[in-house]
């Protein structure tokens, strides 16, 4: 149409397209290889650490890598933990896609656990409602706990790392306070609330299947639904378009007419609502009551799951299963080989460092580049 701009005859669009698609498949392959290589390297670092501190790394690693499948109840623990981590990874992936470093998952889980428990303990409800109402209320609570730092970031430009971590501390202390002074029945020997009503309990696979799968429960379904929902949200809704565009270039998004402040604040809040589902899983599925530190130690776990999956919701189940396998293996290793399960945190840190190290990743990519025909 543009007479002034003839497409150069040498430019063969179909051939170029085929070449580009080949290139894209190759890049995807390399991404997978880089991720697997990173994991291997991180495990090697853990191995070396144990060698240096004089532990038996073979024994330790056989518990770490074989443990979760050695007994059905351990496999149950894996499923249970993976459910939490997949949901957490999904929760983190939304603000991360908008390049917002929301680290508030921990506070959101504690808040959600509390709200879900209060309703599930004290409000008599018919079946199904007994699950859905606590779930909805907890998600609303998570939404609000996420919204606050989101609004602070979007409208006041307050550093979200500081605000989410401070808010986490406040919520955890509040949880502790209420558990001690309100939820624990008077005269109780240990610090824990009453059990939730039977109708609110998420059925466990142990009872459903007759195999001892520990506390793994139907919340797996929540995780599965959320995988699809988050994928659809990010890739098939205008809001997802806003999030992705803001993540790619915030100024461009604003210039193009996107209400960036609203979208940023919402990315925090929706992340919070999803993290809340993880909290609900802990209360209605795993513990079936409030216990001290119910979501302790889960603060940053969503990050590594999301990062490994490159914030792609469809890959998060895989990375979540992988990472929880390591965590459960770490616990077993601690029992069997007296090596602290915290080595898994070290491995996690190494994975994050290596995956974010662009130069390393690009180096691998450039080395694996085929010789160009031209």
């Amino acid at each position: 149409m543009q007479a002034t701009l003839p497409t150069t005859p040498s430019f063969d669009r179909a051939a170029e397209r085929a070449r580009v698609q080949r290139e894209r498949r190759r890049t995807a392959m390399i991404d997978v290889l880089v991720t697997l290589g990173t994991i291997a390297l991180a495990l090697l670092v853990g191995f070396l650490v144990m060698l240096i501190v004089g532990k038996d790394p073979i024994l330790a690693y056989s518990s770490l890598l074989g443990g979760p499948l050695s007994r059905t109840n351990r496999t149950g623990r894996w499923i249970e933990d993976a459910t939490t981590l997949i949901i957490l990874g999904l929760s983190v992936s939304i603000p991360f896609r908008a390049r917002q470093f929301s680290l508030g998952a921990q506070g959101q889980m504690f808040m959600a656990a509390m709200i879900a428990a209060v309703i599930a303990i004290y409000v008599p409800m018919p079946p199904l409602v007994a699950v859905l109402l606590p779930l909805a209320a907890a998600m609303l609570a998570g939404f609000l706990v996420g919204l606050l730092p989101g609004l602070m970031k979007a409208y006041l430009n307050a550093n979200e790392i500081v605000s989410t971590l401070m808010l986490n501390a406040v919520v955890v202390l509040l949880y502790d306070f209420l558990l001690t002074n309100v939820f624990t029945p008077p005269g109780s020997q240990s610090l824990r609330s009453e059990a939730i009503q039977a109708g609110s309990m998420l059925a466990r696979f142990t009872t459903l299947l007759g195999v001892n799968l520990g506390r793994a429960n139907l919340a797996v379904l929540f995780a599965a639904i959320l995988v699809v929902a988050v994928w659809a949200l990010l890739n098939r809704t205008p809001f997802g378009y806003e999030i992705r565009t803001i993540g790619a270039n915030e100024k461009f998004a604003r210039y193009g007419g996107i209400n960036t402040r609203r979208a940023i604040a919402l990315s925090f809040a929706i992340g919070g609502a999803i993290a809340a589902v993880a909290g609900v899983h802990l209360v209605l599925g795993v513990h079936q009551r409030l216990i001290p530190g119910i979501a302790a130690g889960l603060g940053f776990e969503g990050i590594v799951v999301a990062l490994l999956a490159r914030n792609n919701p469809l890959l998060i189940p895989i990375t979540g299963l992988f990472y929880s396998y390591l965590r459960v293996g770490g616990d077993i290793m601690e029992q069997e080989a007296a090596v602290g399960t915290e080595i898994v945190l070290v491995i996690q840190a190494v994975i994050i460092l290596l995956l974010t190290a662009q130069v390393l990743v690009n180096y691998v990519k450039s080395r694996s580049r085929p010789v160009r025909e031209t």
């Binding site: 149409m1 543009q2 002034t4 701009l5 003839p6 497409t7 150069t8 430019f11 669009r13 170029e16 397209r17 070449r19 580009v20 698609q21 659809a232 890739n235 098939r236 809704t237 205008p238 997802g240 378009y241 806003e242 992705r244 565009t245 790619a248 270039n249 100024k251 461009f252 998004a253 604003r254 210039y255 193009g256 007419g257 996107i258 209400n259």
Partner: protein, 522 residues
Amino acid sequence: MPTASDSAAAPLIEMRNITKIYPNGVLADNDVSFEVRAGEIHALVGENGAGKSTLMKILYGMERPTSGQIYLRGAPVTIHTPHEAIALGIGMVHQNFMLVPSFTVAENIVLGTEPLRGAFVDKRAAVAATASLAQQYGLNVDPEAVVDVVPVGMRQRVEILKALYRGADVLILDEPTAVLTPQETHELFAAIRQLVNAGKTVIFISHKLREVMEISDRISVMRDARMVGTIDKRNADEHLLAKMMVGREVFLNIAKPPVQRGPVVLKVRDLEYATEAGVEALKHVSFNVYAGEIFGIAGVEGNGQTELVEVIAGLRAPLGGVIELEGKSIAGLPPRGVRQAGVAHIPEDRLTNGVALESSIQENLIVDRYEREPFTRGGFLRPSEVARNGEVLIEQYAIRTPDGALPVGSLSGGNMQKVVVARELSSRPKLLIAAQPTRGVDIGATEFMHEQLVKARNAGVAILLVSADLSEVMSLSDRLAVMHAGRIVAIFPTTNGLTEEEVGLYMLGTKTMTQAEIERNW
């Protein structure tokens, strides 16, 4: 006056067979050889992207050549850092000033080689050194002023003094006149001649042929990463240079039919704005833009044009005044509201903020309409529609890419430009704001942009054109306003018979039309 002698003088600098390939595969310089004689003013000309800036960055140690050798006074040298270049007496004044805004003029001039008193930096000595250097070369600056608030012309003098303070014998000036008025340019040229009289050598990068003809002794021309040749000014003229630059005859005259002016589309009255830092940017700005005309705004950069464009586009909120589009107020609306009212905006920083590099071409093309039919239906985005829209626009605007699903970052600068233009024009705007539409693009892309603007104008779109390139804005506009210090100081009802010198006087603020005169031309 020591002019460049014809052949006897040994070259001061010789760059032999320089090739530079960037890691991303771009070939910036291809076997380029270049020599500079002591005491000459040597112009290096070429289109954007011809490789002249890269060549100079190599000479200044900011880039390393892939192959090739540099000789200084006949001896081979390696220059791997600016530090080494400075040590060899080579200084560079960059196009984007390399100044630290919160530091004073003196602090900037001595930065990197601060005078010490014991263990501490001696600020008084820095001020004294700055003052004496400024006097020696007749480059007037205020040593204790904070750079953030001093005018552009002074910032440039600071840059030159910075190089001189470091003992530069050779000064590389990278497009120094881009931000200056014609009058300021004359001052700069006087200063350059004074520097040469004091024994310095100057390399002058430009693509403004008239200036090159005025100031230089010899001229080297680059095209497509190669050195086309070096000629004496005596043997050169603008046409010859233009031919060398682009390899064909260039017609800078823009053909456009007589204006068919329609009703008022954009009405701006008493618009006021101050930045968050409290800098007054717009003072009682008033004008109209009519359907079917190109209304140009000329002015030295930094006189409120950027703010004016961003206030109208909704990126900044005005402090007061009226902005109406076809009679409806759009003042203070967010960008989406302004766009929905019928405004399209080609921003001046379009290659950084007019696109999202990681997002696909298709998605870049819908940022202003993704939430509407047909792209969103029933709350869900429809990738097939997004792709279809992409295909149509890629075809229509000849965006050169194998696949609209590729990231915009995979395109060349010129094609990214087309993505922006395609999106903005396809929104069928009533008003199109084009800010510095040809900055940073080569002649081919410039022609494309000019044609698109004229085509939109002929189709009845009201066009607000803001450009610091005086010849561009004068040849494109049907009516022309001049901004100075946040005010509209003149509106010319036609550009016929206007000279650049005349407009330049208004740009400098030396001349101002009366309020009544301006209002007559609203």
